[in-house]
């Protein structure tokens, strides 16, 4: 009875796991197939010998390294700004007492309730007036005001930053700014990791805003590059699959090596919020 139950449970878990893995497996397989093989029926499900040709076709069709670099620039600059603004903001809300603190924090919480959708049209008009169409700034700067990030950092500071530490540093004659950078920021490392991963993954995979803002091929991020291969009827299918693999693999490998941190970071809002 016990064994039967155990087997059933494992069977459920394993079949769901197979369903989750199958699309990834097929993506890797199709990266090594020719277009003809991809369109054959029944579908080819084993690795083929067309990887090199697909790679050549891909290089000829799109500028993958450029898109990779663009994604990296947008994502890392945005993540760095979010981490910086969130940590100083969260820290200030946690350790300083100042007039209006309570009201300002309520306003901050309120901003989390309002969906981005409400202002999307004026946001787009604003970006064009700023001359930020085809400019990474549109994807980096507006998103760097992150209410959740401040909320999250405040929680972390309240639980992990002893006020006595600040007092000691003040007696040593450190300025407030030095205290933050020398004493507090190192304590915040785990919080930086969670929030940084969350922001990095979200922006790396972001599509809609990039689609509206980046219209020229030289500015395409990875998501836009993939999308452009879908609409281009002449694109070789194997090359498109290989490009998808190239776009997905770096983050996927990072995830497999540090899955605990990724899962903690990406579900951070649920557990504390």
């Amino acid at each position: 009875m016990h064994v039967l139950k155990k087997t059933t449970l494992y069977l459920i878990l394993i079949s769901v796991a197979l369903v989750m893995l199958l699309p990834f497996y097929m993506m890797f397989v199709m990266s090594t197939l020719s277009t003809n093989e991809i369109y054959s029926f029944p579908p080819v499900m084993t690795f083929g010998g067309n990887l090199i040709t697909n790679f050549k076709n891909m290089i000829a069709a799109v500028n993958l390294p450029r898109a990779f670099l663009n994604s990296l620039i947008v994502t890392s600059l945005n993540a760095v700004l979010v981490l910086f603004f969130s940590s100083i903001g969260g820290y200030a809300f946690s350790v300083y007492d100042f007039p209006g603190k309570k009201q300002l924090f309520l306003v901050l919480l309120g901003t989390m309730m309002v969906p981005f959708t409400a202002g999307i049209i004026p946001w787009f008009i604003m970006m064009s007036k700023f001359g930020w169409i085809n400019n990474f700034a549109a994807l980096i700067i507006p998103g760097s005001a992150n209410a959740f990030g401040i909320f999250w950092m405040r929680q972390y500071c309240q639980n992990n930053v002893p006020r006595s530490l600040m007092e000691a540093a003040r007696i040593d004659g450190c300025s407030e700014w030095t205290i933050f950078f020398r004493v507090i920021a190192p304590i915040l490392k785990p919080a930086y990791a969670s929030l940084g991963i969350m922001q990095f993954v979200n922006i790396w995979n972001e599509f809609m805003q990039a689609l509206l803002i980046l219209r020229k091929e030289e500015y395409y991020t990875l998501s836009l590059l993939l999308k452009s291969m879908v609409s281009d009827r002449g694109t070789d299918y194997g090359a498109m699959m290989l490009a998808s693999t190239c776009a997905v693999l770096p983050l996927l490998i990072c995830f497999l090596f540090a899955s605990k941190y990724f899962m903690d970071g990406l579900t951070a809002g649920a557990v504390k919020g």
Binding site: L108, I121, L212, F255, M263, A270
Partner: protein, 308 residues
Amino acid sequence: MILLKVAGVMHAIKKNKVAYAYIAPFYILFIIFGLFPMVSGFALSFFRWDGLGSMNFLGLGNYINLFNDSLFWKALYNTLFIGIIAHIPILLGGLILAYILNSDLIRGQNLFKTIYFMPMVTSAVAITIIFQNLFGNNYGLINYIFGLFGKDPVNWLGGDGSFIKVAVIVMFAWKWIGWNMVIYLAGMQGIPQEIYEAAKIDGASHTRVVFNIVIPLLKPIILFTLIQSTIGMFNLFTEPFVLTGNNWGGGTNGGGLTLMMYLLNKAPQGGNAYGYASAIAYVMTFMIVCVAFILNKVMNRNEVKGGM
């Protein structure tokens, strides 16, 4: 009097300038890029504006036109249909998988968690490209598997367009089930083991444990995931857009047309009906806020009942 007040405020700012300086970036950026667009979007929804010429005040005109716009209703129907149906597998499936993984019979918890969570770190465009192939009519793996079970192939992305929604639901569920599962599992691990033990001694079945113990205790967490996936539902755009070959109309018969797609197509993507698009945005916002409010109410009311 006013001068005194101003002086007082100035003094407070001076005394606490470090704290204000630390929180200022958020509020400045939010006012420029969040609050201003939000307020002007509301104002814009009462005007007709092509983005260049003069603005004409229409009053409720945009909203009235919206009410008579069959494409808007189609987009609304599609969005709600996809969102509501897709919530069944991600809620129930997420809970069941988490409950199984929380059982002491199961080893390799982390391995399963990692596998289920993989879609969350993957580009939606790449995922959609793969699924577009798997859903292929004459060559796709899914129709092949259907054939193995003696079922006729389904023209997922073509035909009369009605199966596009099913394809999007499959992708939505595939993507979000792991996220829900990981969150529910974290919640379940926070429930003291003794509660399960006590229920077991009382002879409660697993179904009863889930419905009478686990779900009531996880209510705040379930509420959180519901609100997040509801927002995800209203913002649904990438998957149906790429799945139908970057089609702004949502594919055959608008089968995959969602509210977000319709909104973007009305203005930034060539439609140039900025006021009309703002009206759509505000209807969507209103619906998101309503759903969040109702969910909150429903969840909290049950909690009070359970407490008595």
